[in-house]
Symmetry: C2
Subunit: 346 residues, 2 copies
């Protein structure tokens, strides 16, 4: 197999030059006379030489790869278009800088060790982390190993906000949620329930806060609050709970489109019409929103762009200025706006 991949040495011998010269040519050819460079290039092509990445990164201390770490089971990562979109933006930005994307998924508690070792082992130049819960050990692992890291969503662990080095990309969850609930109020709804995401994630907590803001209360009516986990099944269950507790509710704000579509299913099976009996608003504006029956009113955040920004931030942190970014832009967290999109469900 890998049998006898030619080495620099071999190319040098073939071209009748030294290893140093070949190395220079392979890395751009600066400072090598044209005639020689062409001779070397011919040899490289003739032998089918490809640099050995291990040897190279051993000396350069760079790998040209970036890890995307998602602390969720594959089930969610791949069924939730949120990640898909995010990854898409990331992947696009990275490949523009010729950097490889490495996807690491953490499923169980035991994976933390493996991934921690991987990150610390110098396999990657930096990391992008998502979907972290408040007590997740990953950030401190990354921090301990000194790996440059950018987070998706505002980190929620204690003291996170005080770290001036901290880099993240978030969206205005609180404002978006407020818009959603205000919209329901304008539609004349009065018993508005909420289905939250896991509250140890800032995005879920912020959306709940936005709900409270809109209603002008400091504490939500417990009968109108149910907790989901950002999945459709969770939304289905939460909606059932809500209907049991508050049969008179006339609207529900779900913390994600997936949960909203789950809620839709429960409502349908319980014979409630949407939006006549119960208005539904989701969050994210991903595919399931537009496809749901009826099409979901939701809060739009440009997830793909957020992914792109995360990657951009990291690349700049690594000193690989992505094109189109003035190099004097300060390296700081980014918060993008959210916007209500009204469809048929409200």
């Amino acid at each position: 197999m890998h049998g006898h991949r030619p080495t620099l040495e071999a190319v040098a011998a073939h071209a009748g030059v030294s290893r140093a010269t070949v190395s220079r040519v392979v890395n751009g050819g600066a400072g090598v006379r044209k005639a020689l460079r062409e001779r070397v290039e011919a040899s490289v092509a003739a032998l089918g030489y490809v640099p050995n990445s291990a040897a190279r990164s051993l000396v350069t201390r760079r790998t040209g790869a970036v890890a995307v770490v998602i602390a969720e089971p594959e089930t969610r990562v791949f069924s939730d278009p949120f990640f898909a979109q995010q990854l898409r933006g990331i992947s696009r930005e990275l490949s523009a800088c010729d950097t490889q994307l490495l996807l690491l998924l953490l499923e169980g508690r035991t994976d933390y060790d493996r991934v921690g070792r991987y990150l610390a082992g110098g396999h990657v130049d930096g990391a992008l982390m998502f979907s972290l819960h408040r007590d997740d050990p990953l950030p401190s692992m990354a921090n301990a190993s000194g790996l440059p890291t950018v987070f998706g969503g505002r980190p929620g662990w204690p003291g996170a906000e005080d770290d001036p080095e901290l880099l993240y990309v978030d969206t205005d969850n609180r404002g978006g949620a407020r818009q959603a609930v205000e919209h329901l109020l304008e539609r004349g709804r009065r018993r508005i329930a909420v289905i939250t995401g896991p509250l140890d994630q800032t995005s879920a907590q912020d959306r709940l806060d936005g709900y409270r803001d809109a209603l002008g209360v400091a504490e939500a009516d417990p009968a109108l609050v149910a907790h989901g986990d950002f999945t459709a099944e969770g939304g289905e269950r939460a909606m059932a709970e809500l209907l049991d507790r508050s049969p008179d509710l006339d609207a529900v704000f779900a913390g994600s489109d997936l949960m909203a579509s789950g809620a839709l299913r429960t409502l349908r099976s319980r014979g409630r019409r949407v939006p006549e009996d119960v208005a539904v608003v989701g969050y994210d504006d991903l595919e399931p929103a537009a496809w749901a029956v009826p099409a979901l009113t939701t809060v739009r955040q440009d997830v793909q762009d957020m992914g792109r920004m995360m990657a951009g931030l990291l690349l700049r942190r690594l000193g690989l200025d992505p094109e189109g970014v003035p190099s004097d832009t300060p390296l700081a967290p980014v918060v993008t706006p959210a916007r209500l999109v009204v469809r048929d469900s409200s």
Copy 2:
């Protein structure tokens, strides 16, 4: 940052032993006296030593990582649950062998170079390739670089079948399609249309062949055949075409659930009732099938398990026998069965 990661040397000095001993301990500790081993382990912990992967793989010629190459735009990869499931199986199998999964997506023609270089550069020990079209250059690139590779789906390029080394995992697409169409015939349908996937993929071609088998014809009625691209949008368009060409059709077999759900949308918008007016059968039995309204009759293939098998095949090819596999099992392509699942749409 990576500032001063301790090296083997440092640990050796700290523990008062030689590099060789530390290396042995780090790699399992075989052949090192217990007392010494514990001393070394303490030093490793005290210094927070993590082996440098580049140095290690430079000498071992192994990276502990495997690439999954998908020649489809991210859009599809992440919105099509097919890949999600497949990846899930793969990821599960790989992590059992402590092997990292590296996801490489090819979007445009230009990505081929980058990925080709990456694969040839020794970043990974092997590759898993999916969703290849007949003239895809990737297999020959992998072959040229001698990278052990397992394919998802029976490869369709000329001469592929003759390669005794070729490893792939496929499902009985032809048989599954035949079952689907026979089922429609049993239901009394007579004008059965088909929406194919891209015919330069063997899976799509095989499913079309199965359709013909069931109908007992050598060539399908062109008015009843439309081509999609395995996406929901494609299914939507194809269904519209079919209705225009053959308004009298009473059933449609779609080459994937996603295309079937697109077809469902078109049928709904054209006012055809499913299954009363038109029966619909999909293929794959992934989430969209069960969720569709009405729930889709479809052909089940255990995609996740296929992923697992692909990974298993590759690991064995790499000499990392996954647990539970008798080591004398011959290394050969696998074809899994397909089974009809009847739901509401037919």
